[in-house]
């Protein structure tokens, strides 16, 4: 029976890295993450300072939409939190119209998927998820705009980045179940 047991950890067909002692047993990596986390926080309360049209409930709608896209496309775990982090930081730096919010969310998903997973979310597919209210050219322009506004610092640290480190230092023998629970 044991030979039939599938021990692989599948996540959207791509295997993730296993534990690397150089990285995961290093206190310095965790302290670096903690220090870096501060740099990747949104700088201000943009609803009250930068944005005039964008309201908190709209953020909720667009981030829910982003989560649906990620779930539908079985994105790697860190993609969604990073995309939201990018969106929040972008909204701190640039005033946008209400009609550009979904475009911004889509562009953040595009960038996050390029940095955090092997399979990039295709531009055409993201446009499809917006019911084609966004064109591929808009999306590509907006991708550049966001990266320029964030000065190419798009390696934001999110809660998801801590999970493996914490799990390994707390429960070295933990199985994937705890990890999955942590992600939800």
């Amino acid at each position: 029976m044991e030979t039939l047991l599938c021990t692989e950890i599948m996540s959207s067909g791509v295997k993730c890295a296993t534990v690397d002692p150089v990285i995961h047993n290093s206190k310095r990596v965790i302290s670096n993450l903690l220090a870096q986390q501060v740099n990747s926080l949104p700088e201000c309360d943009y609803f009250n300072t930068i944005q005039t049209e964008i309201k908190p409930f709209m953020r909720k709608v667009v981030t829910n939409w982003m989560l649906e896209v990620c779930e539908d496309q079985h994105c790697e775990m860190p993609v969604f939190p990073l995309a939201v982090n990018l969106l929040d930081r972008f909204l701190c730096s640039c005033k946008i119209k209400r009609s550009q919010l979904q475009l911004s969310g889509a562009a953040c998903l595009l960038i996050a998927s390029k940095t955090r997973q092997y399979f990039t979310l295709p531009v055409g597919l993201l446009c499809f998820y917006t019911d084609n209210s966004v064109t591929p050219d808009d999306l590509k322009q907006w991708e550049l705009l966001i990266m320029t506004k964030l000065r190419w610092r798009i390696y934001g640290v999110t809660g998801a980045d801590f999970i493996d480190h914490l799990l390994i230092s707390c429960w070295p023998d933990s199985d994937n179940q705890i990890r999955n629970h942590a992600h939800t």
């Binding site: 890295a17 993450l33 390029k114 955090r116 990039t120």
Partner: protein, 298 residues
């Protein structure tokens, strides 16, 4: 773009042309790497995007600096620190002779750059550097890791990249056997290969022509690993039993100019079982570097 005056074409990078240029204001020499955007339907190529983001964060004297990213209509221009020579040009200038102190200094700097990458928060982002640092540059005796265009997400299967024949020479047996999980130990194997190449003034250690030949060359020096020396080796995806080689060459023959401490370090890096390979920090603490002089005369 008016800020820079193009001087000459240096070469073709992983995704664009590289030019040497001068900053008109500061007269500083830089390298410009151009990424065309119009022929890509997916926006900024993800390899370029990863390189930019990584280099924006990795600031270290042994890693090539990215000063700026300029973007115009249909292209991105990456402004890099300019380096005089790449590894190949440097070796060509040597005529087969290299000062042992320079070998030591370069090896130390290579390890220091790697240690920085491995300890940086970005590796915890599952981004790692193997294969990529085969592009090494030198600037007045300083070594720089460069060309992170291939730096890839940690979980990406290696097969997608196996067309890169050059980097075959620097691949460890675990990757050659199809290990799809990257760890920092891969970089340490590559560092060992480069160490031997440096010590021999540019002769590659394992210049294999394909995966099979590559493995044979490795095992002729190190002996074919078995389940005893490397538990779970047979579980690797592309593992197949190869003829059993007993080590037929000694390290003294392979790197005749390296002293005994250097040979010891090399042997600890070139270990088939990735779990037993020395890490970058430990390698830097090796007694070979005890009398290190970081600025030897060129």
């Amino acid at each position: 773009m008016q800020k820079y005056e193009k001087l000459e074409k240096i070469g073709e990078g992983t995704y664009g042309t590289v030019f040497k240029a001068k900053n008109r204001e500061t007269l500083e020499i830089v390298a410009l790497k151009r990424v065309r955007l119009d022929d890509d339907d997916e926006g900024v190529p993800s390899s370029a995007l990863r390189e930019i983001c990584l280099l924006k964060e990795l600031k270290h004297k042994n890693i090539v600096r990215l000063y700026d990213v300029l973007h115009s209509d249909k292209k991105l221009t990456l402004v890099f620190e300019h380096c005089d020579q790449d590894l190949k040009k440097y070796f060509d200038s040597l005529n087969g002779e290299i000062d042992p102190d320079i070998v030591k200094s370069f090896m130390y700097q290579l390890l220091r750059g790697l240690a920085f990458c491995h300890k940086s928060k970005y590796c915890s982002f599952r981004e790692y550097l193997s294969d990529t640092f085969c592009v090494l540059f030198f600037n007045n005796g300083e070594l720089k890791l460069a060309d992170f265009g291939l730096a890839r997400a940690f979980g990406i299967p290696v097969k997608c990249y196996s067309a890169e024949v050059v980097t075959l020479w620097y691949r460890p047996p675990d990757v050659l056997f199809g290990a799809k999980l990257y760890t920092t130990s891969i970089d340490m194997w590559s560092a060992g290969c480069i160490f031997a190449e440096l010590a021999n003034a540019g002769r590659p250690l394992f210049p294999g022509s394909d995966v099979e030949d590559q493995l044979k060359r490795i095992f002729r020096l190190l002996g074919t690993p078995s389940e005893e020396t490397w538990p779970s080796i047979s579980h690797l995806p592309d593992y197949r039993p190869l003829s059993i080689y007993q080590p037929s060459m000694s390290f003294t023959q392979v790197v005749p100019k390296l002293n005994s401490k250097g040979r010891d370090l090399l042997q600890r890096l070139l270990v088939c079982n990735p779990a037993q390979r020395l890490g970058a920090d430990d390698a830097m603490a090796h007694s070979y570097f005890a009398d290190l002089n970081l600025k030897p005369q060129q």
